[in-house]
Symmetry: C2
Subunit: 349 residues, 2 copies
């Protein structure tokens, strides 16, 4: 028996990666209805919006689902840090005739908190996954008392061990191939971020918890490989990003389907934390890892006006184009059909 199919009542342990800002209940519901684990990314949502998303999802499916939160520690804003960041972006503000006075204030992404627990209590998701570690133990206990399976991402064997010791029920091993934010939380050293081929054996050797493989998995061969390397489930992101049910812009969608999608890099420009996205103008010109970018999530606010202005001109040069290293394998199929393909792939492997 498979831990995840049993515990989460799935047809096969196929997890749709939660992708903040790129999908909501429409995608998740299709994955759930096909027998996989759909996910609602909560990190970029207000609690009201999260409640609305979960309500909409519940209306569309009675099957188990996952809700994902960021578990970061918000930094206290530092005026000097933001000044340096705004100075780095000033030439672009000028180019697009934007007023730096319009840069939104505020904390950007909110971490998981007690109010979020109250929302979860209404919907009791089968799984709750975290990125950037875990919330403090009192909060985590509340999540567990709702019966939710608790997962979190590890990018090194040390992080997997830490998660096991701090109460995670399962580990998402996030290989360097993965798109979007690196879940790294015990290190800031990008050299520690290794490929799934190396990461999975190291994590399976380090912990006893069941493991979900993430990063570069896009077809039956990837699912077979992840199983061979000890994973009990796979989490798939980029392939779902290309589904018609995702909420990405037409520009983003076109870039994802273009040969440019082969060139991704880890960049801190869009949030302050390293995340894998398709190389674009801002990444090329400031360097994808930029010392002027402030701490997560403080970089986000000053990017937003640039992104809006550029996209209005059909330009993705200032947009976060999150994608993994295997975007080329994305099949552009409806999410339900894609999930059935992954489920069949699991069963045949």
């Amino acid at each position: 028996m498979n831990f995840f199919t049993e515990r989460l009542r799935l047809e096969a342990p196929i997890f749709q990666a939660p992708m903040a800002g790129a999908q909501g209940h429409a995608l998740a519901a299709e994955v759930c209805e096909a027998g996989g684990l759909g996910a609602i990314p909560a990190a970029a949502l207000s609690l009201e919006a999260l409640d609305a998303e979960l309500n909409a999802l519940r209306a569309e499916t009675k099957r188990p689902f996952n809700v994902n939160f960021f578990a970061h520690h918000p930094p206290s804003p530092d005026a000097e840090e933001l000044r340096a960041w705004h100075a780095a972006l000033a030439p672009y503000y000028k180019e697009f005739s934007l007023d730096p006075g319009t840069i939104p204030k505020g904390p950007g992404r909110m971490p998981f908190n007690a109010d979020a627990v109250a929302v979860l209590k209404k919907y009791r998701p089968a799984a709750v996954s975290f990125h950037f570690g875990l919330p403090e133990s009192a909060l985590l206990d509340q999540v567990k008392s709702l019966g939710c399976l608790v997962l979190s991402s590890a990018t090194t064997a040390d992080e997997a061990l830490w998660l096991e010791r701090h109460g995670a029920d399962a580990i998402i091993a996030q290989g360097a191939e993965a798109g979007g934010h690196r879940g790294m939380f015990l290190t800031e050293d990008l050299h520690s971020q290794i490929g799934l081929m190396a990461l999975l054996p190291q994590i399976t050797a380090a912990v006893k918890l069941p493991i979900v493989a993430a990063g570069g998995i896009a077809d039956v061969s990837g699912i077979r490989a992840a199983r061979a390397l000890g994973a009990s489930a796979v989490q798939i992101g980029t392939s779902y990003l290309a589904c018609p049910e995702s909420t990405i812009s037409a520009l983003y969608r076109a870039t994802l389907a273009s040969p440019n999608a082969r060139f991704t890099a880890l960049t801190n420009l869009f949030s302050g934390r390293p995340a894998r996205g398709i190389m674009n103008r801002l990444m090329r010109e400031l360097g994808p890892m930029c010392a002027s970018a402030p701490r997560f999530p403080l970089a986000t606010n000053a990017i937003a006006p640039l992104r809006v202005a550029a996209e209005a001109k059909g330009d993705t040069g200032f947009s976060p184009l999150w994608a993994g290293q295997n975007a080329a394998l994305a099949k552009m199929r409806p999410a339900r059909e894609l999930t059935r393909y992954f489920i069949d792939s699991w069963h045949s492997s």
Copy 2:
């Protein structure tokens, strides 16, 4: 039937990665005798030394083996470029009381050439593999006329296609996890260097040639995963580096077995081309990818005296400590026993 076992008469398609400066016939012979494909790295050898190595190997085994060459285009030395490099290293020369006048001159690594063909003619190896592309077609034809199977490394699908079109008989798909020099030859963009989990499906989709998977493979799970991803053989380096038959220093061996071996990076400091090695003092202080490092292989000469002086004090801070991302899985077993384990792993997967 497997292309490689049939063509190369192996017990299983287990290739020992050629590791210049780190091993010779002693390791290769044990791999061959166990039924794998042992390899002689020729890149750091004079033709006389290569002849001696092949002669010694032939005395120890009648089984098929591989000889590996670099196929780079040597740059014409540029005085300004070398001056900048020597200036970057000057503080270290001072610290070790070394005279920059002692820096050896000369071209460093020699690429494959007609004289090497003459040596190959004496030994007619079953396989000849290249790194950094392929030699020009007239030379390549001479190698093929000796009956050698010609392989070369691809780090992107574009490189695999290029190799297929230029006469390679098989492709070594080198994932970003791999230790030592990146075989990249159509790009200098490190962002194009992706994990094996993403690279193998992209290369298998791009070319018809049989594929050898390389990078992070160190146990039965890695072999299974590589097969699942479409590889017909695996090439294993770091695990063989840890064998008693390798010729690495005691300091290197100890570092490889230490927790530090988890932290590798691509660095151009030791040769001028990016290669994966264990992070050390020079890499930390100059940055692993340093703009002052001259073109390959011109960086090598000025590193040599520093390396010797530091190693004499038990310090690996200036040594190239090539290793892949899975050094933690190296088993420190004799090469013959290790090869038998890999062969059994292949058959059971």
